[in-house]
């Protein structure tokens, strides 16, 4: 049986949860450990922490956040942001993360994906891909990979890069549509379906959730294995339990909250 996971995503800046719209305009959304505990109680299947701290000398803050979370919350935890070497992955895993997310550093040096997979197993490696639609209207859809928090175009085709990541050892893909992120217009379903069809590792959809119907579409139309959302949960509009109830009502198998 395949079930769909519901994953709240916490963007963490210097030890605080923040949320931006279209990768900018950050606002404070609370203490990460407190939020993680609340989402666990609501029935979250997993948590993603994304460290968006700009200065690398504050990375130790994130390790502390991961440690404190792992002492209180007993569901899977993925941590991404600033993972540039096997040592960074090891530090986060030792602190209590179950998986590490790599993004920019994997594009800069794809061997990093293989190195982390080799050392800790591929189930530990999540490749996060920030995708922006680059085809003109009416043309067959194409998406380009962006890095550095969405600021840098790479020229890479998203589908080709996703396949390469799986070949290198990615155990999961976390794909964010930059066109949709923060817009509340729903996932880029075409993007998710295209990747889901091409890659046989679990796919987490991210970017654009504004309603519970969007989560349902992600699973039923996008064919993804997990749906990730941030602001609908952080702002208290919906609980994780409500999200799961909506999925179940639509016939999607979920672990009940």
């Amino acid at each position: 049986m395949q079930s769909v996971r519901v994953i709240p995503c916490l963007d963490v800046d210097d030890g605080r949860v923040v949320k931006g719209v279209r990768f900018v305009d950050l606002f404070d959304a609370g203490d990460p450990v407190e939020l993680a505990t609340r989402y666990d109680e609501q029935g979250a299947d997993e948590l993603v922490f994304l460290d968006i701290t700009a200065s690398s000398d504050r990375r130790a803050t994130m390790v502390d956040v991961v440690e404190r979370t792992a002492e209180a919350v007993f569901i899977p935890l993925t941590v991404g942001g600033g993972v540039r070497a096997v040592g960074d992955a090891r530090r986060l895993l030792r602190a209590g993360a179950d998986k590490v997310g790599v993004n920019t550093a994997a594009v800069d040096r794809p061997a990093l994906v293989a190195e982390i997979a080799e050392e800790f197993g591929r189930q530990c490696v999540v490749v996060a891909i920030d995708a922006r639609r680059c085809s003109s209207e009416g043309a067959p859809p194409r998406w380009e990979v962006f890095t550095h928090g969405g600021r840098t175009a790479t020229g890479l085709d998203v589908l080709a890069w996703a396949e390469q990541c799986v070949a290198l050892g990615a155990g999961e893909l976390l794909v964010t549509s930059m066109d949709r992120d923060g817009t509340r217009d729903g996932f880029d379903l075409e993007l998710m379906a295209a990747i889901s069809k091409r890659c046989d590792v679990p796919l987490v959809a991210s970017g654009g959730v504004g309603s519970l119907a969007h989560l349902v579409e992600g699973a039923t139309v996008g064919g993804v294995d997990a749906v990730l959302a941030a602001s609908i949960f952080h702002l208290g509009e919906f609980t994780v339990a409500e999200a799961k109830a909506a999925l179940a009502a639509a016939g999607v198998t979920v672990r009940p909250a």
């Binding site: 049986m1 395949q2 899977p76 030792r94 179950d98 197993g121 591929r122 672990r255």
Partner: protein, 208 residues
């Protein structure tokens, strides 16, 4: 004391932290002598079978596990730590397992995504080994978290299965040896209840 065997493979803190959260006296142990004096052992593990089996042997912890099995010290293997208790794995045919449980570790059935990285439901198959204290009060169809591409064969020691392209062994038991293919330390309330049962069992079988 419960020794969580630390042989350098993956996230070992989770099991330790979950046991400590339950109030158990648990710690990560690298020294075989110290592990041999513990009241109970947890053998965690993620990643591939071969490197895990080699790492366990290089640190001399394989003998601690074998000794525990022969003297009846409670032992819980988790994920790859569970798989190591079997005779071997198709993942790394050249590297033998500990052979404490009969059977081999096989790939998950064809036609499903690998790894299975999700929550799935536990079932207690009819006619299989009766569920002992470790699984007590764990209701049929409870949800737990799996991350794996291989699983042990279903044998007479299997006490729980899940459905993933067919029935897959989720937990086994033989004497004082227990194992879960899923991660109890990452399975929320259900997982903590299983670990609490293990802690209680260890405490009632403490060395004099």
């Amino acid at each position: 004391m419960i020794a969580v065997l630390d042989y350098g493979i993956g996230n070992l803190r989770s099991a330790e932290k979950a046991l400590c959260w339950l109030g158990a006296d648990a710690k990560l142990v690298t020294d075989p002598g110290e592990a041999a004096r513990s009241d109970g052992l947890v053998l965690p593990g993620v990643g591939a079978f071969g490197p895990a089996a080699r790492a366990l042997r290089e640190r001399g912890l394989d003998e601690v596990v074998e000794e525990a099995a022969s003297t009846g010290v409670p032992l819980l293997g988790i994920c790859v730590g569970f798989q190591l208790l079997f005779e071997g794995s198709d993942e790394d045919p050249g590297e033998p397992g500990l052979g404490l449980l009969p059977g081999r570790v096989r790939p998950l059935p064809a036609g499903v995504k690998k790894p299975q990285m999700q929550w799935n439901q536990l079932h207690r198959p009819d006619g299989m080994a009766s569920a002992s204290g470790l699984w007590g009060e764990i209701p049929e169809a409870s949800w737990v978290y799996f991350v794996h591409s291989f699983a042990p064969e279903i044998t007479e020691d299997t006490v729980m299965t899940c459905e993933y392209g067919g029935p897959v062994a989720a937990a086994a038991e033989r004497g004082s040896l227990w194992g879960t293919q899923f991660h109890p330390e990452k399975s929320g309330r259900v997982g903590l209840a299983i670990l609490a049962n293990f802690v209680r069992h260890v405490e009632s079988h403490r060395r004099p």
